[in-house]
């Protein structure tokens, strides 16, 4: 009884973690299914068909390619301009700083359906054709605030004494920035870029408003599949992404641990 009292938070925590991970496990298991109908919702029997032919579902790999391309471009642009803004907001005091912070915060506080629809009214009013350009504009917009917020936190936590020390040691301002400040902020920039990539890659609602009829991203493809019949291949992609992410972080952790040990 005392043991139970002491460990109740551990047991509850593990149960909640199980709730978070359960759908991923189901997705993984059903990637080995051979469904009888068009929908992959009921277990029939084990098969490697989808794994051996990941692009076998027409249009899916094109959609996946488009999503990766959009996510790369959008996260690059928003990381560069977001990092610049984060330095301005994190290191300088100027008039209008508070309102700029608010302007950066607002898109994060706007539901996707409002952001998507307001962009749509703008594009319609401007007579702009929906397609890759409008998707990119929208994705840069909603990832930008997350990059600024992530990087700004890192910039604000920097000790200015370090840059002063570099100056005392006769570093030019640009040397001090690139040799001292930038490497210290880099993890924040990396986190921001990763977040931007993930948000862009996963977005359905905003994209759906601004993609037009013929430009299909991966989330839009999955949405369409949910209405027409779900190919097993989407489970394969879902599983690869999940295991890939866990694997990359695991390897990074292992390398970090070994480095620490070596130091």
């Amino acid at each position: 009884m005392a043991w139970l009292r002491r460990n109740v938070v551990v047991i509850l925590g593990l149960l909640v973690l199980g709730y978070i991970l359960l759908p991923n496990i189901v997705v993984m298991v059903f990637s080995f299914n051979k469904p009888t109908g068009r929908y992959n919702y009921e277990w029939n029997h084990f098969s490697l068909d989808a794994w051996l032919d990941p692009c076998g579902s027409p249009g899916m790999c094109e959609a996946l390619g488009l999503s990766i391309w959009v996510a790369v471009v959008a996260s690059l642009v928003s990381t560069v301009i977001g990092t610049m803004a984060a330095f301005a907001l994190g290191r300088y005091r100027f008039r209008g700083r508070a309102s700029t912070n608010l302007l950066v915060f607002l898109p994060m506080a706007t539901p996707e359906v409002v952001m998507g629809s307001s962009l749509l009214t703008l594009f319609v009013a401007m007579g702009m054709q929906s397609g890759q350009t409008t998707i990119l504009i929208a994705h840069i917009l909603f990832t930008l605030s997350f990059v600024v917020t992530t990087v700004k936190a890192r910039v604000a936590s920097l000790d200015p004494a370090l840059e002063q020390a570099a100056a005392d040691l006769y570093a030019t301002p640009s040397q001090a920035f690139w040799k001292v400040t930038f490497p210290l902020v880099a993890p924040g920039i990396g986190a921001g870029a990763l977040l931007a990539f993930a948000l862009s890659f996963d977005d359905y609602i905003v994209t759906n408003f601004n993609a037009g009829a013929t430009t299909v991203t991966f989330p839009m493809y999955v949405w369409g599949a949910a209405q027409r019949g779900t190919p097993v291949q989407i489970n394969v992609i879902g599983t690869v992404m999940f295991l890939g992410a866990v694997g990359i972080v695991g390897i990074a952790q292992a390398i970090g641990a070994r480095k620490r040990k070596a130091d």
Partner: protein
Amino acid sequence: MAFAVPSRGARRTAKARRGFATPLILLAPALLWLIVFFIVPTISLASQSLQTGDIDNGYVLTWHFQNYADALSRYWSQFARSFGYAAIATIGTLILGYPLAWFIAHRSGRFKTMLLVLVVAPFFTNFLIRTLAWLIILTDSGPVTAFFRATGLTNLLQAVGLTDNNSLLFSHFAVISGLIYNFLPFMVLPLYSSIERLDLRLVDAAGDLYANGWNKFWKVIWPLSLPGVVSGTLLTFIPASGDYINSKLLGNTQTVMIGQVIDSQFLRVLNYPLAAALSFILMISIIVLVGAYVRAAGTEELV
């Protein structure tokens, strides 16, 4: 902790940089993007909501406030349902997220990073695929439904009106569970960062002063974790109230949320002024609700 003190002092004595040219140049691209693609579209949305006309002949701004009256009178129940679902889902994520955040912060030892990764990792599988997995988990013939039936929980859910027959799928219950599932990590991460910074010696001190378990939590732990609670609830409530993926995939015609109405009015019915009015009402309601909440919680520092 001791090392943090001198560096904080150093930060305070260091001259804050002043001037206008450098920050303006650094800010220019981001500001431009936010103004052109966020402020201008919001104005464009507001203007669209007051226009009359149709998609073929174009729209004219006629200050037609009737659009708002129509939007509210026809869809007030979807608005109410969206905020109701979002509120229940937010409380649900808080109740589930708190023990998990505490466990990761103070009881996980060397598995801490791994557990944090596992909380975030589901994001890398597209959320639509994961939401579809709930169709499999909650299906009538599955073990979860069997368990709920055996323990009489289905009767309980029916009694409180969350389901309307002896199954779990396509009900209020399924939609709310889907929302809780989808937004749980947004609650756990801010809670974790607040709870992790919490000095456990304070809890011990409360115990030394004869506080019981409840008082330790309510008088010491809860107030100290409040910043995490506030940002977690905002990060959950705002997107949940605009979401319609869960209600579309896991619900029925009785679970339609406002986002679903906005989507279909914009993209299928093509009634842009009504859709814009709906969108604008959603945005204003959220700003008012969040403003009142933040004021009540007494935290101004959000970003």
